[in-house]
């Protein structure tokens, strides 16, 4: 459905994208993860035709984006990071306007707006001006504007940034429904739990390069990371740490705590507790650190996802 080959983008002396390539198949949910300034929005801006690449190729549904920008625009929907709505118009008026830009017939458009507002739980507020909406409600209308022309591909750039849990859950339900219905979705987010929950595949982008991509399991094995059990103590001393080192391979000290690396946390947890008791360590807390997207990201980029 989407093929990106050797995409570069320079802003004067700054190279924002350094030849990224990836493929997204029909109906796939693809997550693009990266810290601020990594190149996510630049990539989405190029794929959604508002920014020209310096070099490289983007094929959307078999069409060269550069040669057929208008045709490509007709089959994509974009949910931008910022809430881009007319505050002095009602939700209905906003949706009528944005839908009309895609030449959806009037009657059809009205029916789609009704359907979408029901889906997003905002039908009862359809005649209220956007400026009276909460941030979460605006986000939902922001998503609705991208769905009215029934796109084949949906680009969602941080669609849940800064909203309340209720709206977030509603958006999650909508996103999952769209995915179930077979829509191809490209999703950027700072929230790793969203990426883990929704994405079939994830591309990790940093400094304009895709440094890893695949399913979550593929990324876990790619990172070669191991899970750890972090145990805190009230009486940890150097001699006790040395004694513990002789009983367990691969431990590291972090202040009053010790990291125990493990191939299988469930199996090793009780053994760790027993060994600690054996050496006379007084346990004050236990934290299991599993491998997740956050730790993989940290391992691959040396940065927190929200840096």
């Amino acid at each position: 459905m989407i093929s990106v080959k050797n995409l570069t983008k320079n802003f004067n002396a700054v190279q924002a994208l350094k030849g990224i390539s990836f493929e997204i198949v029909n109906g796939e949910f693809y997550g693009l993860l990266g810290p601020n300034g990594a190149g996510k929005t630049t990539t989405i801006s190029i794929m959604s035709t508002i920014l020209e690449p310096t070099s490289g190729e983007v094929i959307i549904d078999g069409m060269d984006l550069k040669k057929n920008p208008i045709a490509c625009k007709r089959i994509i929907g974009v949910v931008p990071q910022e809430i881009a709505l007319y505050n002095d118009l009602s939700a209905w008026q906003n949706l009528m306007f944005w839908g009309s830009l895609y030449n959806v017939p009037d009657a059809e458009l009205k029916s789609r707006i009704d359907e979408t507002l029901h889906l997003l739980g905002l039908h009862e507020r359809k005649d209220d001006k956007i400026k009276t909406y909460s941030g979460g409600m605006k986000r939902r209308i922001n998503i609705a504007t991208a769905l009215l022309h029934h796109p084949k591909i949906l680009f969602m750039d941080e669609p849940t940034a800064g909203i309340d849990p209720q709206s977030r859950n509603l958006i999650f339900e909508v996103v999952e429904k769209l995915h179930r219905d077979g829509l191809t979705i490209v999703y950027t987010t700072h929230y790793m739990e969203e990426a883990e929950r929704f994405c079939d595949r994830i591309g990790i982008i940093d400094k304009g390069e895709i440094i890893a991509q695949g399913t979550l399991d593929e990324l876990k094995s790619l990172s070669k990371m191991k899970e750890t059990i972090l145990v805190s103590f009230t009486n940890l001393t150097d001699p006790l740490f040395d004694k513990m080192s002789s009983l367990w391979n691969g431990i590291t000290r972090a202040g009053d705590a010790i990291h125990f690396t493990s191939q299988d946390v469930k199996r090793d947890l009780s053994t760790v507790i027993l060994k600690c008791n054996e050496v006379g360590l007084d346990i004050s807390g236990i934290d299991i650190q599993k491998i997740n997207l956050e730790t993989i990201f940290l391992n691959l980029t040396g940065k927190q996802l929200r840096d």
Binding site: T41, T42, S45, S48, T49, I50, L51, I70, K73, R74, I76, V78, P80, E82, I83, A84, L85, Y86, W98, L101, Y102, N103, T145
Partner: protein
């Protein structure tokens, strides 16, 4: 308290827009008004000659002599043409008045009778006509009055003293002629000069036309800048970017703004003239087709100006800063604030670079000069406004395209 004041002063000097509004705009306006009203920029040594249009129907040596004497004066630069051509210029508003020497002027002057000389003028240019007439009467009386009166006196003297010897008569004649040629003989009376308004329909006063047209265009310029700036609001609020995601070709976004600004401009101008009709009795009904055409052309030029300013700026704040300066300057030189004819010549030349000028002159053509819709002077103003609008739109489109590239 002092620290707060110092902080605010620092912020003020860091804000370029505030600096421009506080210092540059008033300086620019003071300079303009000084040039327009105060005579700044004019040479103190050599007064600027006023063009004096003369039609010599008499075409005798007497009329030619008077014209030559007027032309030799530092106050006037004489331009001679036929009466029809001269009247045409006055009626089109190109000249304030024409001095016509009718047939029999020379005979009347030589016989000591009342010479038939007529001052035909445009009442809309009251101040300009007043200045011209004032300068003309004094000089004309000195030139023709002296000739006419001295001849009368000599004639009467000869009749009273027919027996006087020729040598004494010659001396006295010379004395009388000298006396009448001196600058002391300047009549304050203008009774010899017939004054006729060429453009003097009383139904619409020029003051009213100027107030309506001048103010309407100036305020329209301010409004259209605000309308154009909605483009920047769209940019700042992200809706412009979202419009670019849609299949709408980017140029159409600007065209949409142009249409919006045009429609509102047409409405605004129409309301202003309807108000002038209802409250001040400006006769718009008799001139409806020309008025509609003029409103369309003015709205087009003004709205294009607004869209261009918005395309040049990077934020609404910049638009406000730029527009305040540009609109006030254009309104000042274009005649919205004061009629252009009271300005010095170089300011009048500058006024053609202002949308206000062409709009105001067009409305004068309709309501004061009563030019028909097909008159080429009126149509030329329409064409100029359309050209201005088209050029500004093309520039706006170029700037808009350049700004789009900076969006992401």
């Amino acid at each position: 308290m002092i620290k707060l004041a110092i902080k605010d002063i620092r912020l003020f000097f860091a804000d370029k827009r505030a600096m421009i509004l506080a210092f540059l705009v008033p300086i620019a306006l003071i300079t303009l008004f000084a040039f327009a009203f105060g005579g700044a920029g004019q040479s103190k040594d050599a007064p600027r000659p006023t063009t004096l249009v003369i039609a010599d129907e008499d075409n005798t040596s007497s009329s030619k002599n008077v014209i030559a004497e007027l032309d030799s004066l530092i106050e006037f630069s004489v331009s001679q043409m036929s009466t029809i051509d001269a009247e045409h210029l006055v009626m089109k508003g190109n000249e304030p008045a024409v001095l016509v020497f009718h047939k029999g002027f020379g005979d009347a002057l030589n016989s000591g009778g009342d010479p038939p000389v007529e001052f035909k003028y445009d009442e809309a240019k009251e101040a300009e006509v007043g200045i011209l007439k004032g300068a003309l009467i004094g000089n004309l009386m000195r030139i023709m009055g002296a000739k006419s009166i001295s001849k009368n006196v000599l004639k009467q003297f000869d009749a009273n003293y027919p027996e006087m010897d020729s040598l004494a008569r010659k001396k006295i004649h010379a004395q009388i002629s000298d006396n009448f040629n001196s600058d002391k003989v300047i009549s304050q009376s203008d009774s010899f000069l017939t004054s006729t308004p060429l453009v003097a329909e009383k139904e619409n006063s020029p003051g009213l036309i100027h107030a309506v047209a001048g103010t309407a265009i100036m305020m329209l310029l301010f409004s259209v800048v605000g309308m154009g700036a909605s483009l920047l609001d769209e940019k700042q609020e992200g809706t412009l970017k979202k419009l670019l995601y849609s299949p709408l070709p980017p140029n159409q976004i600007l065209y949409g703004k142009m249409i919006y600004a045009n429609i509102i401009s047409i409405c605004q101008l129409s309301v202003m003239f309807i108000y002038a009709r209802l409250v001040f009795g400006l006769d718009i009904i008799s001139h409806l087709p020309a008025l509609v055409l003029m409103i369309l052309a003015t709205a087009f030029a003004c709205s294009s100006f607004g869209v261009l300013i918005a395309s040049l700026a990077k934020s609404r704040q910049q638009v406000q800063g730029m527009s305040t300066l540009i609109v006030l300057v254009m309104s000042c030189i274009g005649g919205s604030m004061i009629p252009t004819f009271v300005m010095p010549a170089f300011m009048q030349k500058l006024s053609v670079f202002s949308v206000n000028y062409w709009g105001i002159q067009g409305f004068y053509d309709i309501f004061w000069r009563m030019l028909p819709i097909y008159d080429h002077t009126f149509l030329s103003r329409i064409i100029v406004l359309v050209i201005i609008g088209t050029v500004l739109n093309i520039l706006a489109l170029q700037m808009f395209r350049r700004n789009i590239l900076k969006l992401a």
